[in-house]
């Protein structure tokens, strides 16, 4: 077993894909660094914190990207995001079987915030172009920094999201909310509350995530292969019908749980008899329980 959480972006992508199949575009030797960080005396990385390239996953041709949480928490800047946009466009040009995005990011890099913000919307549009071309997009979340900010939105533009229970998916980070609204609004040091609110299990129960796996790269690989197999039988492009279903799902979620303030209350509402036990369950036991109660449908 090899921990996804502890692995670097390159280790994750190499072990996720078929052995020896990954080849990287614009690798560190090509020196695509941020032109903006140096100006503000911040360190740069030769890959600007993201690994992109092509490979295969159980024989299917895929394009894949992995954000490196060890560099500025995976925060996105101009070059970093442009690499993602380029990869998505190349996926369309080469008509690959799927795109797999290993996201780990705190959001937009403040040193180049404007570029990051615009570019995140470029990623959204490029990702939806990939889906429109008939190619499914998967997002994997299991790094220590979670998937936050604009990339948390990007994740939910994909066909499927796979998370470990350690993975976190949200928009504004707990620290940001605590700074804005005080510790009564969100106590960012209450790690258990942070996980209940943003972690893989809660996202799975709500229907924002398609699979919860153990913190093991092989488990992510198996779940990604399953998802590609499943999505190969569906049309990945957005449709009015799907978005109308998503609208109803999100309205129902709001009306059912909008008055709740604690995730465990939502789990109890879903019919889970002992919600306080949920954080203790391993991925398999959790999935067995959750599948009898979870809500929502993935668009």
């Amino acid at each position: 077993m090899s921990s996804y959480l502890e692995a670097s972006a390159r280790e994750r992508i190499r072990m996720l894909l078929d052995a020896g199949s990954f080849s990287e575009y614009l690798p560190p030797a090509a020196r695509f660094t941020s032109p903006h960080l140096g100006q503000l005396d911040a360190p740069v990385a030769f890959d600007d914190g993201v690994v992109i390239g092509a490979g295969s996953l159980q024989g299917r041709k895929v394009m894949a990207a992995a954000q490196e949480g060890g560099f500025m928490g995976g925060a996105v800047g101009e070059v970093h995001v442009a690499k993602l946009v380029g990869l998505l466009k190349r996926a369309v040009a080469e008509r690959v079987d799927a795109v797999v995005l290993l996201l780990e990011t705190g959001g937009v890099r403040l040193h180049e915030a404007n570029a990051g913000l615009i570019a995140v919307s470029e990623v959204m549009r490029a990702l939806l172009d990939v889906r429109e071309a008939g190619i499914p997009v998967l997002v994997l979340v299991g790094g220590a920094n979670g998937c936050f900010g604009g990339m948390g939105i990007v994740a939910r533009c994909a066909n499927a999201v796979i998370m470990s229970e350690e993975g976190r998916l949200a928009m504004s980070g707990p620290e940001v909310i605590e700074t804005a609204g005080g510790v009564e609004e969100f106590d960012s040091r209450d790690r258990a509350l942070v996980w209940r609110t943003t972690g893989g299990k809660h996202r799975y129960l709500l229907g924002d995530c398609d699979a919860v796996v153990p913190d093991d790269i092989a488990a992510f690989r198996a779940a990604a292969a399953d998802a590609i197999e499943r999505l190969a039988r569906q049309a990945p492009a957005l449709t009015l019908q799907e978005l109308e279903a998503e609208q109803r799902m999100l309205e129902q979620r709001l009306s059912a749980f909008g008055g709740r303030s604690e995730p465990m209350q939502i789990w109890a509402d879903l019919g889970i008899a002992q919600p306080e036990q949920v954080p203790m369950l391993d991925a398999r036991a959790f999935t067995d329980l959750a599948d009898r109660h979870r809500t929502g449908a993935q668009t």
Binding site: R14, V81, K89, A113, E122, A126, R156, L243, R260
Partner: protein, 238 residues
């Protein structure tokens, strides 16, 4: 500018836009055509309710009025910063709104965004920035974070940030910086109605923002990096 004043300048041919809990929706006349209008006002934070309301309005236009153009009026202080919104998956609500706008474009609706007051971060990514083209009024504020807060977090003195911001539009707030980077197509001054009509005529579904950013010199790298990824033929083993 308040939204009523804005609407009367944008739509001299008349409109029936209504405001409900800071959410704007209705229709308006632009030249010979009827357009759908959605938006927000009073710098309202975008929480899950108002994201859903906007998405619902976009879906209704797609369903009931094929090819009708959509104008998005942007005024928001950003995504709502609440534990409850995060617990319910605000990123999914935002993504849903973005996907609805994207679907509208793919089905032949022209979509124009206009920042008439404030635009910040998450509230902007899935509204104005998902349009075919986004415009701004000269007094509009567009930002991720102000320079004082940025100075605290990056530990770069504020005076230095102010100095650097003169030549580099990449981090400082302001509609002109977003114009230089291609995120804003143009800044409107004078006859707003005429400029909107022209924008609707010119709108194209291709995302040309990286190209514009390179042409205008405000975002020199994006387009170049995208092209480099597309062109790289000798991918190396990692």
């Amino acid at each position: 500018m308040n939204w009523q004043e804005l609407a009367s300048q944008l739509f001299p041919g008349g409109h029936d836009i209504q405001e409900q809990d800071h959410f704007l929706s209705g229709t308006a006349r632009v030249g010979e055509q009827t357009v759908a209008v959605i938006g927000t006002t009073d710098h309202t934070p975008i929480g899950i309710e108002i994201a859903l309301a906007q998405a619902q309005a976009v879906l209704a236009v797609v369903r009931e009025h094929p090819r009708r153009s959509i104008v998005i009026l942007v005024d928001t202080q950003g995504q709502r910063l609440r534990h409850r919104d995060e617990m319910l998956g605000i990123n999914s609500y935002m993504a849903h709104l973005g996907k609805c706008i994207d679907l509208a474009r793919r089905r032949g609706h022209r979509v124009i965004g206009l920042v008439y007051d404030q635009a910040l971060s998450g509230g902007f990514i899935t509204s104005g920035l998902m349009a075919d083209a986004c415009y701004a009024l000269p007094q509009a504020t567009i930002r991720v974070m102000g320079l004082p807060a940025m100075a605290r977090i990056t530990k770069v003195p504020e005076e230095r940030l102010v100095e650097l911001a003169k030549d580099n539009p990449v981090f400082a707030p302001g509609a002109r910086n977003y114009l230089a980077m291609g995120g804003v197509e143009a800044i409107w001054d004078g006859d707003l109605a005429a400029q909107l009509e022209q924008a609707l005529t010119q709108a194209t579904p291709q995302d040309r923002r990286a190209e514009l950013g390179a042409e205008r010199g405000g975002r020199k790298w994006s387009q170049q990096v995208v092209q480099a990824v597309l062109a790289e033929s000798h991918a190396r083993a990692a």
